[in-house]
Amino acid sequence: MSAVATEKNITADLASVIEKNIASLPSQMQKRKEALDAFKKIGLPLNKSEEYKFTPVTRFLERNFDLSVSTQPGKLNPAPYFIDGLDASVLVFINGVYSPAHSAIKSPGITVSTLQDALLNNNSTALKYFGTLADVNADAFTAWNTASWSDGVFVHIPKNVVAEKPILLYHIHDAQAQVISHSRNLILVEKSSEVTILEKFDSAGSANHFSTVVTEAVVEENAGLNFYSIQNDSGARHQVGLIQVQQANHSRVNTFTFSLDGKLIRNNLHLTLDGEGIESHMYGLYLLGKDTLADNHTVADHRKPNSFSNELYKGIMDESSRGVFNGKIYVRPDAQKTNAFQANRNILLTDKATVNTKPQLEIWADDVKCSHGCTSGQLDEEALFYLQTRGISKETAQAMMLYAFAGEVLESVKDPVIKAYLDQVISERLHKNF
């Protein structure tokens, strides 16, 4: 069989699996069928795909997964994966299925429920916004997710409410056998409201597992959204995620993506700044080892004048790991006085580690301030030497500098409990002994 034939086959094979399963999935049947059609048309990304050039998800799917096998429901104790010390709403999904026994929703004045519940109960907001932001024609994984999603969270913050308690989404795979899951979230933050949402991905077991995660978020005028994604799954996690955010005037969105472990992670983050006076920040830190591949593709789409976006992604690649970064900034013709900044800094610790980084600015307005800077290199030898001449061992000097490097992103985390948790994980990973 030729390579081309195999690749065509996987899309077709997968499409028939999706089709077979669709009938048993809850709600939004029309959109699921449309998504399946889109999936067939686009097909899974192949070698020549520009957007997946360095991240061969399709090849991993072919090699590591049997798409005809259905995923069993899982059973495990999620407590070891929780972040302690947060007074929050907790939703636990095991193999993509909501686990009420392990969850606890505390939502005075706001709506937090599973997406399934919201849609089955004909929640008007959910029905209005579901599937309107994430474009099934733009990416095969978005299409696959829209056709096959099982559950996720629905969050609706009404006007003028600052949600005091964050909402924690724990996505855990019981990977004693192969798992393929699809999670879908929908978030609406109304005028002048605020909410913090954190998603965390973990697993137990050594089988390969794959998930697509699509989050659509509408952030209305003067509203705020803080979104954390913690990807520290020590199992064989393969994941393609999309966070698609629509922003109105004066809104503020801060995203924090920490990719610390896994097999293959692809994060798509897309902010549409469709208003004036917006301020958005996208932060990312990827600390990779073994043969982990983590790919962050981001988009800041400035559509109107006078808005600000700032992006800082930093990566440390150790052993044979691979980092990929592509940061797109679009400044549309009407978006005068846009300020858009992007920085991607990478450190490679070994000869085998690699990083591919590409800034991509497409600017159609003429009165803007935009900058980008992508660097990759080793640790500053001069600085290491300086520390050594003060009696600090080379290992400690290296740990100090790597911790300082990662620290810039950690500094941006606002919540003290989340920050302390991440500090602990990062310190351990970087062998911080000082």
Partner: protein, 251 residues
């Protein structure tokens, strides 16, 4: 304390040190002067353990041990301190954290108990006063945004904290105005005692008005070609280096 015999070193293909001989005893201050390119900074770098320089011959012993065999951190732990000519900025590493780590790793090497946070802060305050450095500088990242003078004062502060037996000051005076120079020199002088020694590498005589040397050596083309007392420095200041170059060529 420091015994250098026929030390030769090169960087890449370029031979820079061509046989340095130098003896430094406890309590002494030695000044090393010379025109640009004579090898002054190379000498300091080789003693501190910079990997870019390859020692091609000779020896350097410190307190009876082979200095050139030791990793840079071990040289520091044995008591050698290099005050850099161009101290590097290390953003994100706080000066206080850095200093505490250094002090405690050196103490561990010497079989001493590490200082806890409170004791450490106490020592720090004491040394800050000694070298007239401001607390605000120390709360920041190491050397980040420091002026030239502030960086050099930070070098002397570190020297005060680490209490080395041999301090090598690599062109510590370069880029300093007279006020900054006085403060730096003052700090160095306060740290001197009968059991430690200082090697001052400098291009200008001016610093030696404040850190008065017992011995002055002139380095030229990688060799010490003339040694004398502090008067030699004054002679160089008056006549320049050409006089030495002529003397050497004639010899």
């Amino acid at each position: 304390m420091l015994s250098i015999k026929n030390l030769q070193a090169k960087i890449g293909e370029k031979q820079i040190l061509n046989g340095i001989n130098l003896e430094v005893k406890p309590g002494e201050v030695h000044a090393i002067m010379g025109p640009n390119g004579s090898g002054k900074s190379t000498l300091a770098s080789v003693l501190a353990g910079r990997e870019e320089f390859e020692v091609t011959g000779g020896t350097a012993d410190f307190l009876g041990k082979d200095l050139l065999e030791m990793a840079p951190e071990d040289r520091a732990r044995e008591g050698v301190f290099l005050a850099f000519q161009y101290p590097v900025e290390i953003p994100g590493v706080s000066t206080i954290n850095f200093m505490k780590t250094a002090v405690n790793q050196i103490r561990e090497y010497r079989g001493q108990q590490p200082l806890d946070a409170v004791s450490f802060l106490g020592v720090m305050k004491e040394k800050m006063k000694l070298v007239e450095i401001d607390q605000s500088l120390l709360n920041r990242s190491l050397n980040e945004g420091f002026s030239g003078g502030e960086k050099k004062r930070n070098e002397i502060f570190q020297m005060a904290m680490l209490e080395p037996k041999l301090a090598i000051l690599d062109e510590t005076d370069s880029g300093l105005d007279i006020d900054a120079l006085k403060i730096v020199a003052n700090g160095v002088n306060k740290l001197r005692n009968k059991s430690n020694a200082v090697v001052v590498v400098t291009h200008y005589q001016r610093l030696l008005d404040y850190i008065v040397p017992d011995f002055v050596h002139v380095l030229y083309k990688g060799k010490i070609v003339k040694s004398g007392t502090k008067d030699l420095a004054l002679e160089l200041e008056a006549k320049g280096y050409d006089w030495i170059k002529d003397e050497v060529t004639v010899a």
